[in-house]
């Protein structure tokens, strides 16, 4: 177990003071002590950094308090027990979300700023490390507070999603869900507010009609009594317009169909001609191949002929030369 000896320390301080006074040693403290301390403290860089860091922390603290304060209302409002107090409308919730987000953004910007500054100005490694660590702590704190906010938000989103799922899956909801949906839809908009009464009116009706589920009719069924003559006319006009559009589309489609048929016919003829030509080209090809062969053979023959010619010539020459030699010989022999 640790022992607190701070008091002992203070006592020793007093002892040393008195001893120094007795010895007449100039004491750094004494009357001037306080002033000296002040002097010594003020030129110290008062840590702009740390005061701003503390500011950021107090901001985050305020955000935390704000979130915690409204948390109960935020979450509770979806209970089916409709109470007067503590009910938040959606707009209020959105407001809270927005405010919280702005807050968080400013806080994180402030932290980034501090970080950039800290890196810029300071010289010593240890101080830099220290400041980085401090900023990490502050960011961590901010993250924890943001978690509070995001938890709340997640719950809210989940409820919306569940609601959507229910509404999607059951176009003809059974009694309970319809009731709950309609009562929930109360808060969703002014349009549907007026439908509350007709819903409850139709309720006994629809019960009997449940045997024949009609997709989407409940939307129409609900609206029939409500359409005023202007609306009927408007709808009719729109109907006409739509019919006209459909007709023109239909015509265009017909035309395109005819054109496509013609194109296919032409293509058939084209194909026929091409096939004919193919036969002719084949025969030409055969002929050309034959011609090539003949020419080749012709070339061979000519080559041979040249060779023979050359050979024949050589023999003639030889014979002539032999004759002339024999003549000369005979001539010499005779004389």
């Amino acid at each position: 177990m640790a022992v607190d000896i701070t008091l002992l320390f203070r006592a020793s301080v007093k002892t040393v003071k008195t001893r120094n006074k007795a010895l007449g040693v100039a004491v750094g403290g004494g009357v001037d002590g306080c002033r000296d301390e002040l002097f010594r403290r003020s030129p110290r860089p008062k840590g702009d950094f740390s005061s701003r860091a503390r500011e950021v922390i107090s901001h985050i603290g305020k955000l935390k308090d704000f979130l915690l304060e409204h948390r109960k209302d935020y979450i509770n409002a979806y209970s089916h027990i409709v109470s007067e107090y503590g009910r938040m409308t959606d707009t209020e919730r959105d407001q809270i979300d927005q405010d919280a987000q702005i807050f968080m953004r400013t806080c994180s910007e402030a932290i980034q700023q501090l970080r950039a500054e800290a890196h810029k100005e300071i010289h010593s490694q240890q101080v830099k490390e220290h400041r980085t660590a401090v900023l990490d702590f502050i960011e961590d704190y901010l993250k924890r507070v943001c978690k509070l906010y995001s938890e709340q938000r997640a719950i809210r989103v989940k409820r919306v999603v569940d609601k959507k799922r229910l509404s999607k899956l059951e176009p003809e909801p059974n009694t309970k869900t319809r009731e709950s949906i309609s009562s929930e839809k109360v808060s969703q908009g002014p349009v549907k507010d007026s439908e509350e009464k007709p819903t409850t009116e139709e309720y006994p009706e629809k019960n009997s009609a449940e045997a024949q589920p009609e997709l989407g009719t409940w939307g129409d069924g609900k609206g029939e009594d409500e359409l005023s003559p202007e609306e009927i006319q408007m709808f009719e006009q729109e109907n006409q317009r739509l019919i006209g559009e459909m007709n023109s589309l239909f015509d265009e489609v017909r035309q395109i169909e005819g054109k496509v048929v013609e194109i296919s016919r032409l293509q058939e003829i084209f194909t026929e001609k091409v096939l004919q030509q193919e036969a002719e080209i084949d025969s030409i090809h055969q002929l050309v191949v034959g011609a090539t062969e003949n020419i080749k053979e012709g070339n061979e023959d000519i080559r041979e002929a040249i060779k023979n010619n050359a050979g024949f010539r050589v023999w003639i020459l030889f014979f002539l030369v032999m004759c002339s030699f024999s003549l000369l010989f005979l001539d010499w022999y005779d004389s």
Partner: protein
Amino acid sequence: WMLGVKMAAAAASSIRERQTVALKRMLNFNVPHVKNSTGEPVWKVLIYDRFGQDIISPLLSVKELRDMGITLHLLLHSDRDPIPDVPAVYFVMPTEENIDRMCQDLRNQLYESYYLNFISAISRSKLEDIANAALAASAVTQVAKVFDQYLNFITLEDDMFVLCNQNKELVSYRAINRPDITDTEMETVMDTIVDSLFCFFVTLGAVPIIRCSRGTAAEMVAMKLDKKLRENLRDARNSLFTGDTLGAGQFSFQRPLLVLVDRNIDLATPLHHTWTYQALVHDVLDFHLNRVNLEESSGVENSPAGARPKRKNKKSYDLTPVDKFWQKHKGSPFPEVAESVQQELESYRAQEDEVKRLKSIMLLKIRVLAPQRGIIAILGDLNLSVYITCSSLPELLEKKRLIDLHTNVATAVLEHIKARKLDVYFEYEEKIMSKTTLDKSLLDIISDPDAGTPEDKMRLFLIYYISTQQAPSEADLEQYKKALTDAGCNLNPLQYIKQWKAFTKMASAPANYGNTTTKPMGLLSRVMNTGSQFVMEGVKNLVLKQQNLPVTRILDNLMEMKSNPETDDYRYFDPKMLRGNDSSVPRNKNPFQEAIVFVVGGGNYIEYQNLVDYIKGKQGKHVLYGCSELFNATQFIKQVKQFGQS
């Protein structure tokens, strides 16, 4: 009655938890620390000296320090820059240099406020020095709190502590037992030990009953400790053991037993080759303060002679209580450890496959089903899969890290075992120590060139020499000496052991190590084990049978109040008794539930493991093991060698 139960539960909380709680409180400006998830951050700077560092590092990781709000942690005697507007927490020993440096800090006005915590009690004069410096620097108001923490010991495990790491030489075996020690030096050594033990008991919050053997250094320690505790208890105003500090920690019905033994009763255990995981790591690798340093050579290729030496990466791992595998298996025999790592690897792979499967299913759902039915419809399923995956991912990663760690460590140990044939030594030594017949002659093992380093052979021979009933004949001794010198051993330790043996023979009968049998497991299991990743061919699968080392036996006798000639004449001290501290007759006849064994002169993991195994068999009893320093066989031989030289 409920209070009694709570107190009993609190008493069972380990020394490690207590020290951690004390440290956390100190770091929280000496106010008890409460976890608050949306609290505002406070930041501070921690300054410690080497003692403080050794105490904090096995207990708090850097991340935990960060969680407590510490931005920087620095050594006292390093260059420190002024950091304005930040409170500084000091955790130092009250020595002259530290005090001077602290006064210098005060003069230089490095920090905004100072919380001074001294590891052990500071003297009045030094306190006045600080006061002086504070006055001179007009910084008295800045010194916010001054505390004596009484934490001058290092806790390594839940139930194991060591006195110090920094100035081990001061309280080492050699320092206590060297022949040329003077009285004053002995006094200083004893005072250091007693101071730490006193801090230990203050933190534990209990006043023990002390028993020690006669005529040894342990007796001196016991007397001084008794005196110190007595003085503190008498001083009603400042007693550390009264009031609520005691209430939380007081064992409800019993006080713990402190058994002080001297290293000299059993010199064979520090030399013993071992087979359990933690002790092996300590013996074979570089392991201290729960950190093991491995040198890994990159690449497993056989380098041809003359090639460049392989690059070695140094890696260090922390083996902490958070490491579940370590906690489970640190006392298991090594083959079991290898198997368990395999099993963990298998289960990790299975889990990984499961996660992958979930992931692919999830992707399938997103790609195929979402366009059809809309993302909202499958949101519920998605959420579940994502949740399962995300929550198991950190676990998986952690598991992977641990598996890698232990694979590396176990592989390194295995390499050593194979290279030095440590299993052969272990088996042989067990046989020697239990006096069963030896199948191979000692001379064979010593002259075997590829079994073990010269040091291993020396250890084996020393154990043999220590445990034999009668000394070997001169001729035999000469033979052994020659074989040893051939193998490259230095014979200095032998001289010392001879002297020691002669001395202890005069004092008492040589220690008996109890009966043990080691069963080499059959061929079948060896074949089965070769399938495992750690190829252990040739490494016998030895099974440790429970045997009691001398220290464990002494503890058993004293704790259970058994009568035994060995322990009957142990002295008995009770600091709470008003007078008379020289009785050898214990007043308390009931067996103790809690005990603390402290070895003066050094201890090791083998003894620790033996104690843990012993106490596991006893329901509801706890044992803490402490020693003045922790050494493995190599370090012990080095110290003993120096005796021979001097």
